[in-house]
Symmetry: D2
Subunit: 338 residues, 4 copies
């Protein structure tokens, strides 16, 4: 079996997840290089991942490392130039979401991808690879709900982790850019259509720090799609019960709802308060398997010389919608999406 | 519309439920007389039910009151002679469960019922009239689960009411006679067959008072039926979450389970402990509607000159099985049911 | 026990439900008169409800009938003048929703109610009396979810009944006036605050007849409230699984969701397709008990000389919001609510 | 990181699962040898697992292969002598369940384990490592349900796979030895106590082939434990909805139930039949992750020089109980467990 040699860039919380998967959980991949500007992260690569070929400079890794592909899990603002550099260096590229921090950057990435049709490019919208979401898509494609015409998506971070969100708020770009990108991608994916208009509102009732940072704790957005379909996104940061991601796709003959109760596992506790289902605590817990499955898909695509279902254009589109939603939320006006 | 005139005997907790239903919730019935040896209960009848024709003697009510039917909700040991007296006095009879406290009494009631085929007789196995149980029976009769071959029944009283159970334990006849009669009836009803053998065990881990009264806190019984089908009953008295009645009927093509979560209503609370469904607190709460529906069925049968689906023989059979189960539980041996 | 004498106006589908409840299910009420312009409905009153005192003219019933109160279940456009006439005739008034078909009518009703503080007036927002909704309100008032700041409400009629909706579409006033009034009331009730702005959209993917009637099959609206809280309403007419009413109230410390699965009862069927919960088929089935409980509340308020929690102003406010939502939906613009 | 070198014996369906996990999913393990008497399985090892060091003789693998540990996934009747041989050859041993096919064999394995306290031995009761079961144990150990006093366990194979079960029936040893070993282990684990008595019954309503092979389609057993606790096991082979494994542990302060609905994933489909949850189709699907987690635990124990929570005595005890249950089922009598 041919093993794809991968160099990882960025070894923060999510970078470590990806690196572990590449190093230990994917039969046809091996992690052969790592790049980070954080010394501890390179120590981690050596000690925990068995990677001795480490770099502090991304371009140097591209030049010198023995790699077929790179996995980019750096700060969002670095994604696009790194994508371009890697592709131009002949490397297959996996990059975590978002594609870029603005639409111009995304276009730059698009052009790089278009220059290199011989290379596999994949954007890390891992929810599409989650067992429940993939099942929903398969069922919908098989006609189980007729023609899908509405998506209602909810994504709320746990109150338990709100301190981090408060700290990050001043530079997050606002709640929609920070939190809604997966929901936006899912709407487009399930409806098979593009959004044309958005209305949004937000509110802050628990942690005034969000408002002080010109951000919000909770926000909603309504979308109109080209074919008349509708979308609704609700994002928040203060779910007391855990990490609540729920999605409903409504069609002419039925609907599918994913995790109305974001159950931690299949155990139910009956006690003096009633019948209690404990909930998942964070996105790495909820999407643990999806992160592995998406990386497996990337490696398999590289091996097969194919492109995965998530394209670079999905990145640009979702970023554009994220910006339009942010504008709608800030101005209170209806914003056309172009 | 002809209204059936009913006299009620017994106005304890459940008697009050029946009396209220007859007086106020059943269009074709009216409560015209009441009998009780408890003065407060007769005061209640006058003040709350508008019944001025009250008695302390059951036979006197039969003789003097202007009634077409009687509803017997007295102490279990009085049921059978009251049934006989009422039928012989030409009154239709509804009696709460159990039919009698031993099989000999039940046979006496059987003979009285057989003497009066012109009168309606009904035994109060109200679970059969509960919306969910009636739905299950209808589905099963329509073939939804193929041939039913196993019933698993659970009935656990709430820990919140355990004090009463402890007080009652010395005279309860044991946990199976006290608690399993409905489950026994349901097994027979759903399987359409009679039990031939029983094995039973019990245990007491929380309230030693039960053992001191030669009773148990929790008990299970396994049944074999004539056609080879199986039954399992689990009764208990210490459910911390509320009143837990759950029944599963398993057939060759499917199964139906009723109230795995004995939800209080359709609200779910998401809080720091997870997703919580509060549970019903007691049998009057759980079977509130079933008590009304069974009495409506009795009155409708009286009007139509028909017999309801619960016969006097269901009473004898369930009592016989209750005794056999009690013997099995006391002796630890397998007991044949005749 | 004093019995309140009630005259009913209108004996259509819902009128029959109310009439039956008054006649047979409420101890302290009696149905003594009925008014309808449909001869068959008056025949029904005589034959099924035992009401011989019937009228074809509402004002004549007010003058001649021996009644303390009237229950108005006529065509929506008749509600307000009938409310006024009844109050001015000294009768307590229960009226089904909506209060009136426009805000001017509602103001007329308001003035009549204000003229008669000695009389009980109640508007039939029965969902507030549903066991699950009442439980949610009680929990929220007790602090179970902290400060409520968002309501997400869904109300979808069953596809099985779509023919009636299509027929009614040309005169329904549009999907929001037709369907969203309960959801609007619930938002206001749970948030304890008034809406100030609305954005709405609709779509039609299954039955083009709705669009031909300038109506929609499905629609959503986003609301902003005075205190910054948010509301979202999703209404539709084509749920294949039944009558889907779901409501979520989100607060700073938790949330409550009512009927994510609009279960028909507590039975679950396990068959070759999986674990299946059958759903309720229609609003009378879903809110059967709520219709009784709200009427009981009305009668109890009359007896006690009190006003129920649903006031005439709730009717005006919800109607005003319904109109604003309809304008938003028709124009695609953000509409301020005054 | 030190990698434990593992040789696998047996590469049937479950052997392949274990081999893949060792080869590709466990950072601190590598699969360096394989043994099978089936030529295709050795081809598979070479082609799919990259293992070139293959054997047809188990003892030869022990002698010649460069391995620290062996994973035994052979036919049950071979387990015990292979365990002994491997331990005596200085290898750590993981063996799939059951420990052996009779109690004498198990004792032989016990003695071998006792001779080699320096080596890690683990028995593959993977359910203990399933996320939900492990969570339940942790909660129980933390006191969430008080003192556990009853376990109700259900394990039903899918009707979709019944052909294989029918073929295997004549040599399966009967439904309890074939199917109940995991449930028996879970009862002992959760109750922390040994069973002393068993009563069992079976029935066959759908596939008479089971009875013709002196086996049953469905069976139940009741257990009494040393401390008075109770156990109930229900096994079957014809679940139309999929692979149904459900376990309830009941304690003095609460209970925990695992997978009342054996959901395939977190998606729910609302269609014309209701709200439908698709179920898992087979044990490899249900316990996919548990197989990985148990092997990871084995390897981690080897690295740390520790013993896992599942001991060789758990194997003997569960086998002894399986035999006693089989005797009870065959004779219809109560059987003491020694």
């Amino acid at each position: 079996m041919k093993k794809i040699k991968v160099g990882i860039a960025g070894l923060g919380r999510l970078g470590k997840v990806h690196a572990n998967n590449i190093a230990y959980k994917i039969p046809n991949a091996e992690l052969t290089a790592a790049c980070s500007i954080v010394p501890e992260e390179l120590e981690f690569a050596k000690a925990q991942l068995g990677v001795s070929d480490v770099y502090t400079d991304f371009r140097e890794m591209l030049e010198k490392a023995d790699i077929d592909a790179v996995a980019i899990v750096t700060t969002s603002s670095e994604h696009c130039w790194q994508i371009e550099a890697a592709l131009d260096a002949g490397k297959h590229v996996f990059t975590d979401k978002p594609l870029g921090v603005d639409v111009e950057q995304c276009r730059q990435a698009e052009r790089a991808v278009e220059r290199h049709p011989e290379l596999t490019f994949m954007l890390g919208f891992m929810r599409r690879y989650d067992r429940s979401y993939a099942y929903a898509k398969e069922k919908i494609d098989a006609g189980a709900i007729g023609k899908p015409y509405m998506v209602k998506a909810t994504g709320i971070d746990p109150e338990a982790l709100v301190e981090g969100a408060i700290k990050f708020a001043p530079t997050s770009g606002g709640i929609f850019l920070d939190m809604a990108i997966h929901d936006i991608d899912l709407m487009r994916w399930f409806l098979g259509c593009e959004a044309t208009e958005v209305y949004a509102q937000g509110c802050t009732f628990k942690h005034p720090e969000f408002r002080e940072a010109n951000d919000d704790e909770t926000a909603v957005a309504c979308y109109k799609f080209e074919n008349g379909a509708l979308g609704f996104v609700h994002v928040g940061r203060t779910a007391p019960h855990g990490y609540h991601v729920e999605t409903e796709i409504i069609g002419t003959e039925g609907s599918i709802r994913i995790s109305a109760v974001p159950e931690k596992n299949q155990a139910m506790l009956y006690n003096h308060t009633g019948a209690v289902t404990e909930c998942v605590g964070s996105f790495p817990e909820r999407f643990d398997e999806a992160y592995l499955l998406e990386m497996q898909e990337f490696i398999d695509c590289v091996c097969a010389g194919k492109q995965p279902c998530v394209s670079v254009y999905d990145g640009t589109k979702s970023t554009a919608i994220g910006y339009a939603t942010t504008e709608a939320w800030k101005t209170g006006a209806i914003v056309k999406i172009v």
